[in-house]
Structure formats: C-alpha cells, structure tokens
C-alpha cells in the first residue's frame, strides 16, 4: 500500500525537482590577465547572477586543467591581457570560456548562460554609443572537445547496468529461493551461510564484470569514448562497485520475502535513484538541497564520478581515493547489515 501510494508522489517530486535546466552556483575559476575595471565589472556581473560562484583566481591558463581534474570547478573564464585597452580602443576584447565537458549537458548550459550574461553586458555598455564595444566570448571544452553526450552516457549506463544486473538479479534470485522453499533446504544442509551467499553471488559477479567490459569496449570502439586513465584501475573500481551492488542485492533479499517485493524494492530503491539522482543525466548541483543530500547516499553517484574521472580526465588514484573510500564504506555497511539481518532470522 505504501508503495502504491507513495510511488507516484515520490516520483512526481523527484522528476519535478530533479529535471530542471536551471543552473545554480556553478563553481568557476578566473584567469584575469588584465585586471582592470571592465573585467572586474564582468566578473561581478557573472557572480551576482546567482548561477555562478567564483572560487579560484588563477595566474595562468595552464592551471585550469589541473583545477578541472579535481572535479569541483566546472568553468573557467580567461580575460586576455589589456582587456580594457582593447575594448576602448578597438571596441573588441576577447574572453575565453573554458568548461569541463565530461558532463556535456552541464557544460552546454553553463556556456549558454555565460554568453547570455556577456550579451547583456554588451548591450549595457553600448547604450548611446555610435561604435559598439564588443566583448567576444570564445568557448573551449575540456575532456570532451566535441561535446558528445555519449561520453556522459557510457559511465551512466555502466552504473545503471551493473546496478541492475548485480543488485536486482541477486535480490530476486535469493528471494526466489526463499519463495520456493529451496533456501530452507540449503540452510538445513551442511553448507555454511557464507557458502550459500557466495554461490548465489559469484555468477552475477562474473556476469556484471563481463557487462562492464562490453560497455567500455563498445564505448571505445563504436563511439570513441576514450579511456585516458589506467584500464586496470577502471576495472578494479568496477569490481568494487559490483561488489557494492551485490551486497546491496543481498541486503534487499534479506528484507523481502518474495520475488515481487524484491523486484519492487530494487526498482524503486535502486533504478530510479540511479537514473535520476546519481548525476548520470541531471547535474547534482542543480538539485534542491534535500535531494543533493540524498544523492550522497546513492552509490552510483560516487561510481560515476570515479569512472568519468578515469575515462575522460585520465586521472590516477590520487584524485578518486575519496570516492573509492565511500564505495568501500558502503559495501562494508551493506554486508554488515545483511549478516546482522541474517543472524536475527536464525535466532
């Protein structure tokens, strides 16, 4: 009943809040080679719009990529030297917009917003002037130069499929054994509970791993999604995520007694959040705060960051250890919970 009535409400709220095309507080870096009143004014205008937040002042354009790699800052603005002089003397000054396009939707949006703001600024300063001043933006995308959305979908689909195969299938297959009564037989047998669980889980571990390989392979050979970082690291992280999904599946199966319940729980608790709240399609920073907080407990959120970083930005372990740690912690928690639940049932 709760599911029947709760589902539409939650879904509506989720879709309503998550699917916004608005930007909010996108972190931005500035490389100001000119540092004059005009560039100041532009920066002020941009930060006061509420869409962008200035976090870093950089000295050189070479620093930008490093900042992007860390993953916080998504956007950088570079003003050319002698910006004010160029603008007043030649009526033309250039500003470069650099974005982290490992999330193409986000990058596109941010660029559009920025261009809009600059356009406005142009109109403002040109009021009543014969020869219009022009601030010319130039855009450059990092990590995904041609802004292909497949770059975003490959990590997302990987997370979704691994979640689906590992968690959903495990939970359903264990719930099925419970429903049919075969689980009882296994439990009375000399097999240890751990052996039973391992037996149920190993095939899905293999299957999911093959899936991960196929997705990365297809991405690479068919769509040209690069794997810039270490392939071994990528696979290791994938296995970690699969383990997490499996432990989640086991946990779901311990709380559900029939295949149907397991299925509903997996769909509701796993699939929807994986698609909506993980940052796969909709950028997390644009969500309302409560949803942003919820997204933190959604495993794929961390996994997607990890694989995007490895595949598109080519970073090493030192940039993703935090996310890895979160994944490990989650796995431990779910295994712990399942074991506890399992013990209670035996008492």
């Amino acid at each position: 009943m709760l599911i029947l009535f709760g589902m539409p409400i939650v879904q509506l709220l989720l879709f309503g809040f998550v699917i916004t095309n608005d930007l909010k507080d996108v972190k931005m870096a500035v490389v100001d080679h000119s540092k004059d009143s005009y560039t100041n004014e532009i920066i002020n205008k941009i930060t006061s719009s509420g869409y962008f937040k200035l976090t870093d002042n950089l000295e050189s354009i070479n620093q930008v990529e490093g900042v992007f790699r860390k993953g916080e800052v998504k956007l950088a603005l570079v003003f050319e030297p002698d910006f004010a002089t160029n603008l007043t003397k030649e009526s033309k000054a250039k500003v470069q917009i650099l974005t982290d396009a490992s999330d193409p939707n986000m990058a596109n949006l941010a660029v559009n917003y920025l261009q809009g703001i600059l356009q406005n600024y142009n109109l403002e300063i040109n009021r009543g002037k014969v020869l219009p001043f022009q601030v010319k933006p130039q855009t450059r995308m990092y990590f995904n130069t041609s802004l292909e959305s497949v770059f975003m979908f490959v990590p997302g689909i990987m997370a979704t499929i691994l979640m689906l195969v590992s968690a959903m299938m495990t939970s359903i297959s264990i719930a099925r054994e419970k429903e049919l009564g075969t689980m009882e037989i296994l439990l009375v047998s000399p097999l240890k509970p751990l052996q039973i669980i391992l037996g149920k889980v190993t095939p899905y571990l293999l299957l999911s791993f093959i899936n991960a390989l196929v997705i990365v392979g297809m991405g690479y050979f068919v769509f040209g999604v690069p794997v810039l970082g270490s392939f071994a690291l990528l696979m290791a992280e994938s296995i970690l995520f699969i383990l997490l999904a499996l432990s989640l599946g086991i946990f779901i199966s311990t709380v559900s007694n029939s295949q149907q319940v397991a299925m509903m729980l997996s769909m509701f608790a796993l699939m929807l959040p994986t698609i909506l709240l993980s940052g796969f399609i909709f950028p997390i920073r644009n969500m309302p705060l409560p949803l942003q907080l919820i997204s933190n407990i959604i495993p794929p959120r961390w996994f997607i960051v990890v694989i995007k970083n490895i595949m598109l930005k080519g970073v090493g372990f030192e940039y993703i250890w935090k996310e890895t740690l979160v994944l490990i912690a989650m796995t431990t928690v779910f295994i712990g919970l399942s074991v506890k639940k399992f013990k209670i049932r035996l008492e």
Binding site: L180, T182, E184, S189, E347
Partner: protein, 248 residues
Amino acid sequence: MKDEKQVIRVRNLFKKFGDFTANHDLSFDVYKGEIFGFLGANGAGKTTAIKILSGLSYPTSGEIEVAGFDVYKQRELLKRNIGYMSQKFSLYEDLTVYENIRFYGGIYGLSRKEIKMKADELLTTLNLEHVRNKRIGELPLGWKQKLAFSVAILHNPDIVFLDEPTGGVDPVTRRQFWDLIYEASRKGITVFVTTHYMDEAEYCDRVSIMVDGKIEALDTPSELKKQFEAKDMDAVFLRLARNSSYQE
C-alpha cells in the same frame, strides 16, 4: 526392529519471540527407526520446534540433542546427519530430475560415483526412470513430493524431518508417500513428521499433540484413543484442541 536408542532428546525446550512463547517447556524423546508424529493446529508451534531441531533456529533455553549432537554447539555435524523436507515443495523447478539429485548429493558431499549410483537406485524404486531428464516443473505434484522425500534421505541421514509433507495431495498419492516413509523407517531412518491430517496420525508409531506451544499428549495412537475414550485420532485431537486459546 526398533531399539531404544534415543536419536532426539529434548528437555525443557522454550522458544520465545518477545512476549510470545511459541514453545513452552517441551520435553520428549524420539527413538531410532521410529515414525514420530508431531501434531497440532496451525500456530501451535510445530514449525518453530522443527526449525530448532533441524538447526535452523536457536532455542531460547533447554537441552536438545539431535542425532547425538548438541543444537547449540554442533550444528555442522547435526546438519550433516539429518534430512529435511518442508511444506513448501523444495526442489529446483527449472532443473531436471537428475540435476536436482546431483545438486543435493553434492551439497551433502557425496562423491560423483555415489550420486550416480544412488540416483539410478532412487529412480528405479520410484519408477521414474523415464523422467530422468525432464524438468521438475513439468511433473505432477505427487511425483515431485516423492522425489523431494527421496532426495531428502539421499545421504542416509539418521533422522528426516518432514514438515507437512503431504499438503495438497490426493489420498492415493498420500498413501504411496506413506509407503516411502515406512520403507525409510525400515532402513533405520527415524522419521519426524508434522501433519494435520488425522488419518496420517494413525500411521505413526507414536504421536505428540501440541496445543498452544505445549505438548498436551504423547503416546501411541491406540493408547491415546483409549486414554481419551475416542474412536479415532480426529476425536482425540478435537478434544485437546478445543481448549486452545488460539482462534483461527
């Protein structure tokens, strides 16, 4: 045929779930080769007791030995020496008959050769040689149940626990099922069976009748009938169960 060796020894078994006492001070013995009927209405605590005896759950207190092993400390050994068949039909529907036998044989650590030998023997006795490679799901319920029982005693356990094994089966098949039980008992396997068919109670060597978590009567069917001046087990059961506080 029966010696006086105890294979199940229960003293003062209590099982509580919060405030609810599912098993209240159970004490009884079951002897080797015996067919022991464990009767009671739904909710009387039969399944709880059988789960404790088969090592599926821990008792709250009490001394319990099954097949000579302590249910607290020697679960592994205990599990190796018992068979179990639940009221839910419990073979894998999408595996074939032979695959099921092989699987369960494997779980109990039988060698490949033993499994093959046992499977042949089992299928011949049951006259099911022709469905060896059919999927279990395609078989009629009666056949499945006979198979499930035979698989449950595949590893020659000391005791086999049957939790309402004949639910939903027609009388003829039930009769055939009991033939299997007798045969197992003749081989020295102790049969511990719960049922709520009172005619089946008559087939048991001894029966215990549980009401509200307590054992109210325990004796041979004929003694019980004498004691309660009843013409059949049905009447015995009704007289005892009428006092139950449990309302269905």
